[in-house]
């Protein structure tokens, strides 16, 4: 199955800029469906970006983050060809992970 | 605190009836009244539909009328029907006048 994580990481001088788009419904648990039933909460609780054995970015998400979250950040370090590992875990215990090469 | 008794004036029957008529308290609406008012509103909304310009407010008023009628509140049902009819008539007026008026907005 295709990964839910799209990522692009580019390195310039000593800074790496990372952009990621994650496919996830991010249901808050406050929205009702067409029949009037609450759609149960289903959201990513934690997303982690790891480089060279260290976590460079960790986010604790909740119901305020919208569907298909997009995140962009920069970190010091990283160079072209390095691996960047991204993983997430949601409140239902599901998870996904992917590794991308820094460009 | 003691209750103060007020002396309620007793009106003669004729005067009472006169007052009632003068203040024109409407008689409670019947189901027949509702059906007539609703039919008029529906007809106007159908006409607006032919003109492809029905308003969501009209639909809401009709729904409110139906709901009130189901609950037995025919006064409210008639009031909502009349509101729906007024809205439908306004939408018809809009559609009719727009047949010409649209040209005023056209880019030339």
């Amino acid at each position: 199955m295709a990964s839910t994580i799209r990522v692009r990481a580019t390195s310039k001088d000593d800074t790496t800029e990372v952009q990621a788009l994650i496919q996830h419904p991010m249901d808050s648990g406050f929205v009702k469906d067409a029949k009037g039933q609450i759609i149960p909460p289903h959201f990513i609780q934690q997303v982690t970006f790891e480089h060279d054995g260290k976590n460079v970015f960790v986010a604790d998400w909740g119901t305020a983050v919208s569907k298909d979250p997009y995140v962009k950040f920069s970190f010091k370090g990283g160079k072209k060809g390095d691996d960047l590992k991204i993983s997430w875990v949601d409140n239902k215990g599901a998870s996904d992970t992917t590794t991308a090469k820094i460009q | 605190m003691s209750l103060i008794r007020r002396k309620v004036p007793r009106l003669p029957l004729a005067a009472a009836l006169l007052i009632a008529a003068a203040s024109s308290v409407p008689a409670a609406s019947s189901e027949a009244d509702f059906k007539a008012a609703y039919a008029a509103a529906e007809a106007a909304n159908q006409r607006a539909g032919q003109l492809r310009d029905q308003w969501t407010a009209t639909a809401a008023a009709l729904a409110a009328a139906r709901k009130a009628a189901t609950g037995g509140d025919f006064d409210k049902a008639v009031a909502s029907s009349k509101e729906a009819e007024a809205l439908a008539r306004a939408s018809i007026l809009q559609a009719e006048s727009e047949k010409q008026a649209w040209q005023a907005l056209e880019i030339h």
């Binding site: 295709a2 990621a20 496919q23 | 029905q54 969501t56 727009e98 047949k99 010409q100 880019i107």
Partner: protein
Amino acid sequence: MRPAIQFLSAALGLAALTLGLGDRAVAAGGSDPAADAEAFQKYFTGKFPGLKLEDFVNGPYSMNEDMHRQWVEKEEFPPYDFSLDQGKEMFSTPFKNGKGYADCFPNKGIGIRQDYPYFDQKEGKVITLELALNRCREANGEAPLSYVKDDMAALTAYMAFTSRGKPFDIKIPDDPRAFEAYQDGKRYFYTRRGQLNFSCASCHVQNPGERIRAEILAPALGILNAMPIYRSEWGGMGTISRRFVTCNIQTRGVPLDPQSDEYRDLEYYLSYVSNGLPISGPGARP
């Protein structure tokens, strides 16, 4: 007193005559679509002299500097990516009978979005891409897709993507019915409707770049070029049908059925007057 009464009766008479013409509005005489399109494009380029013609396809994002910055950022990682992938997969998956979308369209369905809608002279009606896709499905034993839901949006997203950069090339054949469809679309566009008494033009001709509540309004020029769009407000993809329906609801007008005559004619008009502007779909909007 007398002249006033005469005037009043004359006015009433005229009104009666107008109403007596039936439900069709009076068309503006002497209309020429090519002249319309030229005037249309001139109006918007005149209003926004800093923009190139092709910039208009970005809708609200071209209307000011802040919006433009947001667009540049969004394009780096567009939210429609997932829908586009789904659309590509849908397009390439054969029907149960073994045939595919490629069999229904010229050039196997690739790079053709800029030719839609077209006027079908055999049937005497406007055919949009969405309608053509469902007809393809039904002709091959598949159930039609809802015009306002994700699947149709994904499919049209992929087809738009294969046409990226190609200019709209809508044709009005020399056929009075085609001209009438174009005119119908134009009339619909400028006609006020709904309890809020807005026409499409009220927002997209009179107020592009201005705000309606928290939204910046898009210009009508090029407004369909980015369709279908991932709209953050919807939290997902939406088709042209979906947008027409929701716009009607927003003016407190009861929407027509998706792909009804008026909507197809409207799409025909709006696409035609944007001839020459490039397809940029699928797009993203606030």
